[in-house]
Amino acid sequence: MNRLLPLVLILASAPPARAAVNVVASTEDLASLTREVGGDKVTVQAIARGYQDPHFVEAKPSFITMLMRTQLLIVVGRELEIGWLPPLINQSRNAKIQPGSDGYLDASLSARILEIPTGQLTRAMGDVHPLGNPHYWLDPENGRRIAGAVRDRLAKLDPANASYFASRYADFDARLSAAEKRWMAAMAPYKGTKIVTYHRSWPNFCERFGLDVMGYVEPKPGIPPSPSHTIALMQEMKRQNVKIVLVEPYFDLKTPNSIGRETGAKVLVMPPSVGGEKEITDYIKLFDYDVKLVVDGLKAAGAAAR
């Protein structure tokens, strides 16, 4: 470290216009959106992998080293990372990224959040998120808002490149809008289709694309499937003629598969994040993949296209 110290000082004192802003994002989705806006003026690393349950990441010491050097930490917020990120931030020895600093960006504060509970909450409800559903990045409109917040924050940290970030954002916005038209058109025939999901990961996605989540494989958020709940769910699925079950890649397929066998519904492993499958390398490809998966699944299951 002592030998590295002069190097660190040189890097730190370099003019900000030259040095890329070092960003750590808690998930690959936020990392992808940051790359869209930041281009080659940022270096971005993600902590959680796209095929990993973002609620249950291990607070490994290697992440402390990652956070120690970063200038901007972007988090999903809404307590998604509460089980692992706070000890990493505490041990990062990095004053820049402490909550409340310019180097800490809670992406959820610019997004539209669903399922904010009202009234009394207890843990009898399972792992309910008291600040609302944290899977909000699964609505492209929220992706746009997050990208906007990242643009503003990068401009604050690196004012010399503000116009660069603004034009990158405008370009991303245009590409996202074009892609959205495509996705909406593909999903339009299935508006109002009832589906079942494993966890409550998809309210924003389903609201945007007109799907109706009729039930969950989990009896309560974070509580593993129980036989009685599964039986009741299957009966209801048959009654309402539900054709697909969406499962996040990090959940066991045993219960979903037996639901599928019993009800004839198709079980689709649907990645909720960038990196969830090899070909999902950025935010727009995530929706390309997921929309195609749902549309193909509904077609194959013979859901009536209205």
Binding site: Q52, K60, G83, A95, G100, L109, R112, T118, H129
Partner: protein, 381 residues
């Protein structure tokens, strides 16, 4: 610095106290799409549209309350134990109250109060300065000393219902080395290896160290290295040293040397269903007495395997001499089965066999119920 947990997430998914939400105006039902609305967080951030209704200011007085949690540790025991102090049939072994919050832009504070049949005490209570220059992290207060792994861990994150024999015999009993003092830790990352050096100084009033005079401080040093082998496996190696007066006479001291190794496996795609942790700790002790010194050695090797979403099986082997007695080593072994109804409660059974150096053997069955309410901060790795 090396407070660690093999089950990082036990009790870790916490909820902000419901009181925060009780203050949120019922502007919309959960089914309806909610307009962007600032929730009462201490971080002011611009929102794209103005809030539909002002957030009740009454909440602000409580927003700064610390995260509060209580963890109950209920223990039951049956079988044969001929020692002087066997665990009772039923016992609320410990109720731990934790209060944790950020102090100011430079520090945070963590308090852990322990209520047990022996009485109430501050198990830990310290301030952590998070914004020091030079990659330093400073803690001041009463701390569990960073000697090895198990000494830093609170009872509720242990993978057993008890503590290993080496803790009981060489590190000062159930509580281990916990004392008032300072801890300074520095990161020394070398490439992709995480290295951390910790230096601690204590008053000298714990199970091991007793200072006859104010100037007789005790010292703990630790160096630990961590490396990711793959994205699912990692290895950690630590060495520790401790020195201080032991209080037998005015001049007698105890030296402790420890080595610990931990291997972890947790496949990312199946992280909530499968994991393995294997750990061993070795401790050498040299304790001076009125005449001469007693040298002893103790160790444990433990492993825990998660074989289903809520089920863990584990085993531990113990061997340990005694700090001041030159008797054959105490030996023991345990088998464990743990069930998690949720992240906030845990049921554990432990079969424990002990063969004491003095000849007696104990065969016991221990049963533990751990349950937590409130918001308990996530544990470090």
């Amino acid at each position: 610095m090396s407070r660690s947990s093999c089950r990082v997430l036990l009790f870790a998914l916490t909820a902000v106290a419901p009181r925060l939400l009780a203050q949120t105006p019922p502007a919309e039902t959960p089914q309806q799409p909610a307009p962007p609305q600032p929730v009462p967080t201490p971080t002011p951030e611009p929102t794209p549209t103005p809030a539909p209704a002002p957030v009740a200011p009454a909440g602000s007085s409580k927003v700064f309350n610390p995260d509060m949690a209580v963890i109950g540790d209920f223990l039951a025991a049956a079988g044969r134990n001929r020692t002087d102090n066997p665990p009772p049939s039923f016992e609320l072994h410990e109720a731990e109250l934790s209060l944790q919050a950020v102090v100011d832009p430079y520090a945070r504070a963590d308090f852990f109060f322990s209520y047990s049949p022996e009485g109430a005490e501050v198990e830990e209570g310290f301030i952590t300065f998070t914004s020091l220059p030079g990659k330093l992290l400073l803690k001041a207060g009463k701390l569990r000393a960073g000697f090895g792994k198990v000494n830093t861990q609170h009872t509720h994150i242990l993978p057993w219902t008890d503590r290993p024999l080496v803790t009981q015999n060489l590190l000062g009993g159930d509580e281990g080395i916990a004392d008032a003092g300072l801890s300074l830790a520095r990161l020394l990352p070398i490439g992709s290896t995480f290295l951390e050096a910790t230096a601690e100084v204590y008053r000298g009033e714990s199970g091991v160290f007793q200072a006859p005079q104010r100037s007789d401080l005790s010292y703990v040093g630790r160096l630990r290295g961590y490396r990711d082998i793959t994205e699912s496996t990692n290895f950690e190696l630590g060495s520790s040293i401790a020195y201080g007066h032991n209080g037998i006479t005015d001049d007698t001291t105890t030296q402790l040397y420890g080595v610990d190794a931990t291997f972890r496996w947790r496949p990312l795609r199946r992280a909530i269903y499968r994991r393995l942790l294997a750990r061993g700790e070795l401790v050498w002790s040299r304790a001076e007495k009125q005449s001469g010194a007693n040298e002893s050695f103790g160790a444990y090797v433990s492993s825990e395997y998660q074989f289903a979403r809520r089920w863990f099986a584990g085993a531990r082997f113990d061997v340990s001499g005694r700090a001041y007695e030159d008797v054959p080593k105490d030996k023991g072994g345990s088998l464990l089965l743990t069930f998690w109804p949720s992240e906030f409660s845990q049921v554990r059974g432990q079969y424990r066999y002990t063969k004491l150096g003095t000849g007696e053997t104990n065969n016991e069955f221990l049963f533990q119920l751990l349950f937590s309410i409130g918001a308990h901060g996530a544990h470090t790795f």
